[in-house]
């Protein structure tokens, strides 16, 4: 747990995010039909999902650890990671919708990828509702940990497996070219990978801050 109190990766996150803010808008991008300049959205939209996945992954990891050890801190990490993840989830959805308005013509165009993203969003909202429904602390921690572990694979199936099987307009699905495969040149990679790393660290940072606040609140309440 020493990692969350170190500062090198927080500085790195800030530098990388600032770098992508500037380089993402200024560096040249390949000219592709339909996409044109909207391709720059890949620097901002995809890293949101990366950060969301990492934070949800941390949450599942600590839910498993909670079930194994019953230590309250692990439950706090799990819930604050989910809270942060939901925020990044919403940002990912919104940035995707903004891009879809320009690339597809509609904010919401009944695309399988959009629909399953919305369903997976409900899945995690249900997690928060479930937490509110239980009063007793330990029972709440245990049951929500179980639900969290149950929900994570379903989220993965919804976001990354089902849309691939149907005809989605989203890049990377249904035979559409993905940004990662051959549309992205080396110039773009120089922004894209730092952007992912930067936003992932930023997401983890937000989650650790929220966790530390909760820890302090818990201590005050117990005195």
């Amino acid at each position: 747990m020493k990692f969350i109190y170190q500062s090198w990766w927080k500085i790195l996150a800030v530098i990388l995010v600032f770098y992508t803010m500037i380089a993402g808008f200024l560096l040249p991008v390949p000219r592709l039909p339909i996409l044109h300049e909207t391709i720059r959205n890949v620097y901002f939209h995809v890293p949101m999902w990366m950060a969301m996945l990492v934070v949800f992954g941390i949450s599942v990891f600590y839910s498993v650890k909670y079930l194994a050890t019953n230590r309250e801190e692990y439950d706090l990490i799990a819930v604050e990671s989910v809270n942060t993840g939901i925020f990044f989830y919403a940002l990912g959805l919104l940035s995707g919708m903004l891009w879809a308005k320009f690339a597809w013509g509609e904010y919401w165009s009944n695309d399988p990828k959009q629909n399953s993203a919305a369903i997976a969003f409900l899945l995690y909202c249900a997690y928060l509702v479930l937490r509110n429904a239980i009063d007793e602390d330990q029972k709440r921690a245990r049951i929500s940990a179980i639900y969290n572990i149950f929900a994570f694979p379903i989220m993965i199936v919804l976001l990354f497996i089902l849309p691939r099987m149907t005809d989605s307009l989203h890049p990377g699905n249904g035979g559409n070219p993905a940004f990662g495969r051959y549309d992205m040149d080396n110039n773009m990679r120089m922004v894209f990978y730092p952007a992912c790393i930067g936003w992932i660290f930023l997401g983890v940072w937000v989650a650790t801050l929220r966790y530390r606040i909760r820890l302090i609140e818990n201590k005050q309440n117990s005195i």
């Binding site: 409900l122 509702v129 479930l130 179980i146 572990i149 149950f150 379903i154 199936v157 089902l162």
Partner: protein, 227 residues
């Protein structure tokens, strides 16, 4: 083998209990029949509904929605109905996996029977437009079984969180939506009489979802029942 023996014994107990009271079965069957009848009356308020072009589409989607709500009602009972002391008694004599497996198998049996009967009732009221009837029945059977595997675990969670019907719906719908999407797609192609070999892949996905859900439930349930 101990697990198998316990599961079979518990399953027998579930079936005998149900056979004596026939509460879940009759209740849900009546629920399905009345829902179908309500839908029948409501849709036929519009003249020429049966000859309209969207009729097969509505037929298919409406059937799955009715089955979905019937399944939530039927399976929510499986854990909500058990009293605390009775659950405690089970846990002293059987392993948690056996309890979950017996409930899942019992629910799968109940749901396959119910969805089969529901389809028959539904076909009486709404004129049948199915192209490949045998395949459609098979899809309905697969759907009933998948609903029961998913809902059994969710109802176990909901029952622990204070016997709350709203919670059951909130927790189960996002989980079941991908399944519903798949089922509506396969059953529509069975309805249109599309070649069976084209839907094999979708059946594979359904089977995979079942296996994953059962595996996760078996791992997680032992943590859930301890109080």
């Amino acid at each position: 083998m101990n697990l198998l023996r316990q599961t079979v014994a518990l399953l027998k107990k579930e079936i005998i209990l149900e056979w004596r009271s026939k509460y879940a079965f009759n209740g849900v069957l009546l629920y399905i029949a009345s829902t179908v009848f309500v839908c029948y009356i409501a849709f036929n308020l519009t003249p020429n509904f049966k000859s309209s072009s969207g009729y097969p589409l509505v037929w298919n989607v409406l059937f799955w929605i009715i089955i979905l709500f019937a399944a939530v009602n039927a399976i929510a009972k499986s854990f909500l109905q058990e009293s605390k002391s009775r659950l405690l008694y089970y846990y002293t004599i059987a392993s948690p996996q056996a309890i979950l497996l017996s409930k899942t198998i019992y629910n799968a049996l109940l749901m396959s029977l119910l969805s089969f009967l529901a389809l028959l009732v539904y076909m009486v009221f709404f004129t049948n437009t199915i192209g490949d009837t045998l395949w459609y029945f098979l899809v309905v059977l697969a759907g009933g079984i998948t609903f029961s595997t998913v809902f059994t675990m969710v109802s176990a969670i909901a029952a622990k969180a204070g016997n709350n019907g709203t919670l059951m719906a909130v927790l189960s719908f996002p989980v079941i939506l991908p399944v519903i999407m798949l089922l509506v797609k396969i059953s529509k192609s069975a309805m249109d009489g599309i070649d069976r070999s084209l839907t094999y892949g979708n059946f594979g996905v359904l089977a995979a979802i079942n296996v994953i859900v059962i595996a996760i439930s078996l791992i997680l349930f032992p943590y859930l029942w301890r109080d």
